[in-house]
Amino acid sequence: MNTAWAALTSRRYLVSSWPWRSYAYLLSSVPVGVLTIAVLIGAAAVSAVLSPILIGVLLLTAFPLLGVLIGAIERYRARLMIPAGISSPHAQMPPSIGLRERLRFRRREQASVRSLGYGFLFGVFIWPLNALLAGISLSVLVITLLAPFIARNEQLGMGPWTLTTMREGLLFLVLFGPIWFTVSSYLLGWLAAGQSELAKSLLGPREEELRRNVAELRRSRLDLVDAFETERARIERHLHDGVQQRLVGLTMTLGLAELDLPEGEGRRLVVKAHGEAEAALADLREAVRGIHPRVLVDHGLEAAVREIADRSPLPVTVRIALPDRLPMPIEAAAYFVVSEALGNVAKHAQATHCEVDGWVANDRLVVTITDDGVGSATIGNQSGTPAATGAVTPVGGTGLTGLVTRLDALGGTLDLTSPPGGPTRLRMESPCRLDD
């Protein structure tokens, strides 16, 4: 339901801003329309003149680009009648694409040609019609308003009536004014609403264009998540296969050296070095686990969640029942949600117990983390499980805020309920498959 049409059927139409919006829409079409047709004719003339030397023909192929421009201006102007605006039918392009490529792509888009067609229609028919109807209507309205003053000085002929005095002028204003305003407002309202509808249908995205845009957006975001995941796995592998192995090798050498060295300062130093190397190994193990847990890859979500639960300082009950392994990015997102949530519970919630549940329903993975802590958790709040969306001041919740973005790319959500006094419950939902 278009708001302009809704307004026309409303009883408050005449006292709303809609009659004046209609005037503004119809009358503003005059300068824009004149400019449009002038540019189109100019461009056509230039290309006709230059066509013998081929440039003209090339110029002709650039015409759809004019359509893109016209479309942009007209979509902007249509906001007068469609407050929500008309969304662009053009496909989004990544910022890495150069200007030449951009123009070439736009030129070939069907939406550009459609906008060009609208431009012709607009320049040839629409604006003259608007100038005529809105012009007459507004003139009559203005003259009617001024009738008392004009009639005081000179004779004023209004259709069948001739007004000669100010009193007659006033009478005319009171009797005829409202009628004219009513009639013209409705007529022009319909005209403007119809035109904005036409603009929307020609300049807005077609169904398949919308769907394609959404699909492209989704794919590019999935690519991003994927790239992120791949990179994490690469770093993890590098640390495991490179740095960690070398450190283990070092501790082995130091261990052997300890056996060989006699009691004394030299041995004391080797023992110290051994201890430091082991501390480095322990730190590394901790860091690697945070990057991309190997257990998740090898044994799946349940095993990996049990591992985090085991490491948690407070008792955690894990109830996860999954029929199958899920795609890696989904498992990873779920894992990091649980990991982050349990970390937050331990830090902020003053809880004594925590429960992690996971199940699949209607092809969606649901994971909830519930604690019996103090509650009142919000985004960026240090006092409870920091949450999710809308990050006001992400003090404690930066980890989860990042996860919301990841989940969003997968088509999932993260919700938090945390009344004061608890319990706090974080709920994650995500599709089980990546393709629609």
Binding site: Q245, A304, R306, R311
Partner: protein, 217 residues
């Protein structure tokens, strides 16, 4: 000199660690019969001539997943007499459970860091060769943190859990007593209580059973 000269097959894909391990074992007087870099080669050499103990990494080519563990499970199924010592890069008992399917034969699960403590490592190796169970203290600590409110272990006192954890690491009573700074008699009493509370019958290897109960939660 070790209690017994063991014949050992080593499976580890990192050349650095393979050489290091081999030199440690060599110095300790064991015989490193074969040192291989992947799970298939491990299975091949073990089947050809069974060693006393197999030491294997969890992650190995070609998949770099848990090939080593799967090879260990296969060896356990075919040749249950061979002691198996698994070296892992992470504290993760998910890898452990598949090893504990059977109770016969020695089993060890150690973090790679532990190899650096040469004497302890060699002692663990001996226990595995004798048919004992050795679990890395780090893993034990983690398991201990989990089994707090449910399972058959709920009946144990904290002290008894401590004793059980040390048993899981493969220690004998005297070593447990030293670690906890109590008398050996006290440890024996705790061990008796543990067996009673876990309702372990006489006749089986109750020590192993207790540890397994513990590890399985």
């Amino acid at each position: 000199m070790p209690a017994r000269r063991l014949s050992i097959v080593l499976a580890e894909d990192s050349l650095l660690l393979r050489e290091g391990l081999a030199s440690i074992l060599d110095r300790a007087g064991h015989e490193v019969r074969d040192a291989v870099g992947d799970a298939d080669a491990l299975l091949a050499v073990v089947r050809k001539e069974p060693p006393d103990v197999v030491i294997t990494d969890v992650r190995m080519p070609p998949g770099h997943s848990d090939e080593g563990l799967r090879a260990a499970a296969a060896i356990r199924a075919e040749l249950p007499a061979i002691g198996i010592l698994v070296l892992s890069q992470y504290v993760a008992d998910a890898y452990l459970s598949s090893l504990l399917e059977s109770t016969t034969g020695g089993i060890g699960y150690l973090l790679k860091d532990r190899v650096g403590h040469v004497t302890e490592f060699l002692a663990s190796l001996d226990r595995v060769a004798e048919g004992g169970t050795v679990v890395d203290p780090e893993v034990v600590r983690q398991l201990l943190a989990r089994r707090r409110d449910d399972g058959p272990l709920a009946a144990l006192t904290p002290r008894e859990l401590e004793v059980l954890a040390l048993m899981a690491e493969g220690r004998v009573n005297s070593s447990i007593a030293a670690q906890l700074v109590v008398s050996e008699a006290a440890v024996r009493k705790h061990v008796g209580n543990i067996f009673a509370k876990l309702q372990l019958e006489d006749g089986r290897d109750r020590r192993v059973s207790a540890v397994l109960t513990y590890l399985r939660g």
